[in-house]
Symmetry: C2
Subunit: 350 residues, 2 copies
């Protein structure tokens, strides 16, 4: 059963309820959590025949609320109740398009971090020329220390083994240049850690070249990852606008453009975040799936399907076991590296 937060997202609750109903029609069991007066008007008359269970709450956490405070002061909100359902085993996964900061905080406090994990991270697959790459973090942690970035790399490594069966995924560190001296202070430190690790680290990567299938995992802090993700969405939209604007000038051009409709649809589909609909929070005890705030009903449906696939394939369970073994090994490794780097710096200063 997937616990779905009906109150979160720019188009909540109607888009969420519609998306959840559509997913339930495909046989996915859903625990829909929301305020009674908000969700019942959007339910179809035949909802009783679907694998949907309702749970009512009295509060909702708004998008603009401060995450920590909201979780503390609203124990009867859909996010807190949904997380509790997962923690207690009533549901297997939690899905929300709401305040992602609040989802993160609630995950940590209610579902719990995996032992040894500094910071859970949100990861998602982004499209490249012929395939895709897994990017983390895309928004959970804005200020990241080098050891967090290093651990994101380990998480990406483990997740790609589970999700795609790639034994030695190529890991790149997002920076403003290839050279090891490029990057912020923490990125440079993370470079040193990764360079000395057992991971298949290919070095710094620039966001310009990510489309060229050179890498399987891209590591960055949540601020930078979020900007990159949203730039991709923005520039694709702008380019389609430009095409329409350019074609406006002549009807022949409009006809030509119309002939290519199928092609544009295919391209749009590749760029379309609603096609996956969700990103996975890695580093917590149970599956938590975060959807885009602006998700429509279709995106929500696809997001719930994505969550269901994660549950069916037991991805998070397998990932957590694998990560634990890596952290037992690599965690110490990270400490060794840190000491190495420190002694090196100390030696340099002398």
């Amino acid at each position: 059963m997937i616990a779905v937060d009906a109150m979160g997202g720019d188009q909540a609750p109607h888009a969420i309820v519609q998306g959840a109903i559509a997913a339930a029609r495909h046989g996915i069991p859903i625990l829909l959590i929301g305020q009674q007066e908000a969700i019942t008007p959007h339910l179809p008359s035949d909802w009783h025949t679907l694998p949907i269970k309702l749970e009512f709450c009295t509060d909702a956490i708004l998008m603009e609320e401060d995450p920590s405070r909201a979780i503390r002061t609203k124990p009867n909100s859909s996010i807190v109740k949904g997380m509790r359902a997962v923690a207690q085993g009533t549901a297997t996964a939690f899905f929300s398009a709401g305040n992602s900061g609040a989802v993160l905080v609630a995950s940590i406090f209610i579902i719990g971090r995996l032992p040894g994990v500094f910071r859970p991270a949100i990861g998602t697959f982004l499209p490249s020329r012929t395939s895709s790459f897994f990017c983390l973090d895309i928004g959970a942690n804005v200020d990241c220390k080098a050891q967090y970035l290093y651990q994101f790399a380990i998480m990406g490594h483990a997740y790609l083994q589970i999700a795609k069966g790639i034994v030695h995924p190529r890991i790149g560190l997002l920076s403003n240049g290839h050279e090891p001296y490029k990057g912020s202070i923490e990125v440079k430190k993370a470079y040193d850690y990764l360079k000395q690790s057992d991971l298949n680290f290919i070095g710094n990567v620039e966001s310009r070249e990510l489309g060229e299938d050179i890498v399987d995992v891209v590591v960055c802090d949540g601020f930078v990852g979020n900007v990159m993700l949203k730039t991709m969405q923005g520039i694709a939209r702008t380019m389609f606008h430009w095409m329409k604007d350019e074609a406006k000038s002549s009807w022949i051009q409009r006809c030509f453009l119309w002939l290519n409709q199928g092609l544009f649809k295919a391209i749009k589909h590749r760029m379309d975040y609603t096609a996956i609909g969700g990103a996975l929070l890695l580093g917590v005890n149970h599956p938590v799936i975060v959807a885009h705030g602006s998700s429509d009903a279709r995106a929500i449906e696809n997001g719930i399907k994505f969550a269901y696939r994660i549950v069916q394939e037991e991805q998070v369970k397998k990932f957590n076991i694998l990560l634990k073994s890596f952290l037992d090994d690599n965690h110490t490794l990270a400490n060794v590296i840190k000491q190495k780097v420190r002694s090196l710096l100390h030696w340099r200063q002398r």
Copy 2:
């Protein structure tokens, strides 16, 4: 006279020399600085008839060199010699597609920062749906404190008054969400400063919406700006690749695509960084123009033309005078704000 670094860039020296020659054919006076044996083979036989002067150096700073060390240990490099020429008045502006870190360091030490400027920033216009926005910093400063970001906003404000005649440019702070609590620690602090300033601050902006002409100036640190810029370039390239790949499957589709050639060219032109060819370093005493490392001869030609226009319009001279007046006012303002915020935090903690 524009001092051109013939040794910097992935395609140096031949692309630089070719670009400089092309610009000189348009009547732009150029001081071309490079190693004799590297540049003379690429000069055309009629170069004596063009407004080009050569200056030879014995060293070149490579792309992968550490900036500060390179400037210190290679006083006879093209970058250092070019900067000296500008500082001494032999040339009016410096242009380089080389190691941008080294250009920044040399600018600060040889040309000099404007009084009151914490950190010079690289700014450039990026395309939006019907116009463009000015983004700074795109790569000069990777770790930025809030007061640097705040000053970038003041610099953007002043530059748009000079370059576009916009009296109250709309200023946005790039973040991972609109809410004031979104962003890294420094971004959040910068939000507070900007909110209380006299600037036309519209709040946090997300990179997804920058294409929609909602803002004139976007402020971010150099790491994030660089990632955003390169993501734009990358995703545009990937989308064109996808179109070609999709069309490969059928010859009809290929024909359709061919019919839209003109349209695609127009779109490519809008995204094309080689069309401008350069970004401006703001906050130093004389014009310094930085070009993309991968610039070809056409990009170099356009970059030198851009530098020439900056010089002709006396943009940097006017900007420096205007910025000085702003800093005299606003610098104190920033301090006032800082104290306000501090006392507020202090009050909250009590």
